[in-house]
Amino acid sequence: MSDERAEAAAAGVLGGDEETFRALLQSIVDVARAIFGAQASSIFLYDEEADELVFEAVSGQGGDTLVGTRFPSSTGIAGFALVTRQPLVVDDLLKDPRFSRERAASTGYVPDSIVASPLLHDERVLGVLSVLDRASDRPFGVAELELLSRFSTQAAIGLDLLLRARRARSALAGDGSAALVARVASLLDEDDGGEGVALLEALERVLASRRA
């Protein structure tokens, strides 16, 4: 089995594979964009170490080029949602030339309205879901804010799974015990006689008895 296949198999054992979760995030922004009749929708991952927001999924304007793009986390409307842990809607942004310049410089697209909601999962804020330039004939009130919050819950779970898959892949690529377990797990695919499984069961009994 190739290293790549071993990693993929182990990622499946440990938490699922990255591409599936990325597709989930993409479907969330696609649906959010459709529901609000918006020009674009994005999910940002909060990179705590770098203190930056990173485009993880984009639907609509800029979809081809923005994934992976970073910007400072504590500024901008997405930053508002991140730092206050509160969803919010900001309209008439084109009235603020400073914002427009900053936004244009970072993404090439200047929206007039932004809806942003923090992606809260357990105790952590994982990122932000944004919807740009929603259809002007659809009011955005309390019910829409709640709908967006529900989408955000879904997006946060998707983002959490994606992060787990990445950590699993990273662990599998290293020299640690997770990598060893993953390599063994991938080899079990070829364990036709069941000796490997029997050996692991014996190991499990030994470790369990030592803990007891």
């Binding site: 203190d51 504590s74 508002f80 206050t84 842990r85 603020d96 952590r124 009130g141 804010l145």
Partner: protein
């Protein structure tokens, strides 16, 4: 019933007659100290006016936390928006700023705690907190701090979440938690018979102060809380002897959905 509004609540007869909005805020004037714990305030903004004091909570390189004079104002805009809303309702209030967000500070729970402690220690009568922390390890300390504020006479007004998210301090009974309704009236507020969100105030399509003297139209509970902070300041300007418990009772009994509030 429109989103964000609440069914009618009955008030006890004698209270209904005595506790009217006219009694609570009619002709209210006077300088009550209101502190915005947020991203700072842009002093001199046409919708904000003067800022009486400005502090910032900063983390030193060794990890320790300090309170310093804030010379940056507001680098994000959120605090200025909240301050403008408070000013629009309580025009005579003294606005104070404690910056805990912005410029590389993404809402760390310990900085929010330090900022809130500073605001309460300064003796401000009303503290607006349009933010929350989701870290449980800060919940207990925040709870004690909110109780201290409650007992010393500081009203903490905190924006609530639309969903039952475990974040703090808005869920504590010693603070006043606020969600949004969709009316345009800044003096319409609803008492929620189904807590933990206790009040709904204007939070949709609010024209708020923005950086550089500008205004923008915003929606969110972040903008509902300062409406209640401003109304609380009006109540306290007229009735400075009231405790936070009594202010909360007044807000409930004079809410738009409470029978006979007018």
């Amino acid at each position: 019933m429109p989103a964000g509004e609440a069914p009618s609540i009955d008030a006890p007869g004698p209270w209904r007659e005595a506790l009217t909005r006219e009694w609570a805020i009619g002709g209210s004037s006077g300088a009550v100290d209101v502190c915005i714990v947020d991203s700072g305030i842009e002093a001199g903004h046409p919708l904000v006016g003067p800022v009486a004091s400005a502090s910032a909570v900063v983390r030193a390189e060794d990890g320790s936390i300090a309170i310093v004079d804030d010379e940056l104002g507001d680098v994000v805009g959120h605090g200025t928006a909240c301050a403008g809303i408070v000013r629009s309702i309580a025009q005579d209030c003294r606005l104070h700023s404690v910056r805990v967000l912005g410029a590389g500070n993404t809402g760390a729970g310990d900085l929010i705690l330090a900022g809130l402690r500073h605001a309460i220690g300064a003796g401000h009568r009303v503290v607006n907190l349009s933010l929350s922390t989701t870290k449980r390890r800060f919940a207990e300390e925040l709870h004690e701090l909110a109780d201290d504020a409650y007992f010393q006479g500081t009203v903490i007004v905190a924006s609530a979440h639309n969903l039952p998210v475990d974040s703090y301090p808005w869920r504590f009974s010693s603070v006043i938690s606020v969600g949004s309704h969709e009316r345009r009236d800044p003096l319409a507020w609803f008492a929620n018979p189904d807590p933990p969100v206790e009040l709904f105030a204007r939070g949709v399509d609010v024209d708020v102060a923005w950086l550089g003297g500008a205004t923008l139209r915003c929606t969110g509970n972040s903008f509902a809380a300062p409406h209640v902070a401003g109304i609380s300041a009006l109540v306290l300007a007229k009735h400075p002897e009231l405790t936070p418990y009594q202010v909360k009772t007044v807000l409930r009994l004079t809410a738009t959905n409470t029978e006979g509030h007018a």
